[in-house]
Symmetry: C2
């Protein structure tokens, strides 16, 4: 199966997919888009992804898939090993809930288009961007730290000692946090998990600074 | 199985879960929280949900589940009939992608805590709230209308002629849009799907105005 990943090195949702593809042992062609230059807003790219967002995953049969979480669930169904979700329904619900805490509560508020919009509408400067970004990270990471520290299911990683969907979202978000120099050490359980993930090649190789378009 | 839904009539993510539980034919006890009064920020509720968000689903065995999307995937696994996702992997990816377009790109930007924060930080008034809310709805709904109109998979509902996860998220978001009087008719495919959903008891009974705490 030949796969083409339309993405951007610094995009957190792109990082998620790179990790997932690496974990599943799937090769892909890397096509980079510079968001600030509007390269995802061209007619050609909008035909691939009407939202004008990265990432998209293009398959050999021409089908294009959007939304990183949907693509990761598809990868899990089509390439079940190694698994990104536990076998039991309760475990799967817990892993997905952690993934969605990040994917639905943190990332959507902190991406480039939102930061651009608060500048356009409210004159937000770089200091206000940092305050905005940090606020939404802390609101969810504070709660996530409580949950991870409390739950017996937490192991070396978010759920037991095998990596999965929650770890992928966590890893990508911590990299995103570094844009605003947010210190992960204030959340010791999260920091420990991140450090263990960062020692795994499938994660490390997917990190923003290790991509061909990194600047 | 006895289920308790901790929720709020106007919360879009609560509406999703009410629809899903109705479609699965599962009864639940309804416990209402008034967000503006801080009723989800009490020590008692934070023990249930460290994020201080609704909805949470509490089970007879005491386990509490968070994040509406994770709970709906769990419902689908534990109570597979009637299904909320198609049988084929491509169809499942498409349905999830539509659901996440709404759950990850629209709703997170437009909930109460974000509107409150742009008032605190930037002095946004009711007019600015409407502009903010409308901007993020239109950005995704414009793209979603293109996709739904273009894709041969679209039927009476988002994916074929059976309702599912994408329809649930769409239905809840359109109700949310009414808070700011956004006219769905500007997206004719979406409007047609919404009207057909609104004629189904499992959806209609879950709508905000039909809840015991509706004001």
């Amino acid at each position: 199966m030949s796969l083409t990943l339309h993405n951007f090195f610094r995009s957190s949702t792109s990082t998620r997919l790179r990790v997932a593809l690496n974990l599943k042992g799937l090769d892909y062609d890397y096509v980079a888009y510079v968001l600030r230059k509007g390269e995802t807003r061209t007619a050609k790219y909008l035909a691939i992804n009407p939202q004008g967002l990265v990432p998209s995953l293009e398959r050999e049969d021409g089908r294009v898939m959007n939304q990183s979480l949907a693509i990761m669930e598809w990868l899990e169904e089509v390439h079940p090993n190694p698994p990104l979700l536990p076998k039991d329904a309760d475990g799967r619900a817990r892993v997905r809930a952690i993934a969605y805490m990040i994917a639905c509560e943190v990332h959507p508020l902190n991406n480039l288009r939102v930061l651009g919009y608060i500048t356009d509408k409210f004159g937000a400067d770089e200091t206000a961007h940092k305050e905005w970004f940090t606020h939404w990270v802390a609101m969810t990471f504070d709660a996530l730290e409580v949950m991870l520290d409390r739950d017996s299911e937490t192991g070396d990683f978010c759920h037991g000692d095998e990596v999965g969907l929650a770890d992928i979202c966590l890893y990508a978000q911590v990299w995103n946090n570094r844009r605003f120099a947010i210190d992960t050490a204030q959340w010791p359980t999260i920091a420990g998990i991140f450090n263990r993930l960062d020692a795994i090649a499938a994660f490390r190789d997917a990190a923003p600074p290790n991509q061909p378009d990194a600047v």
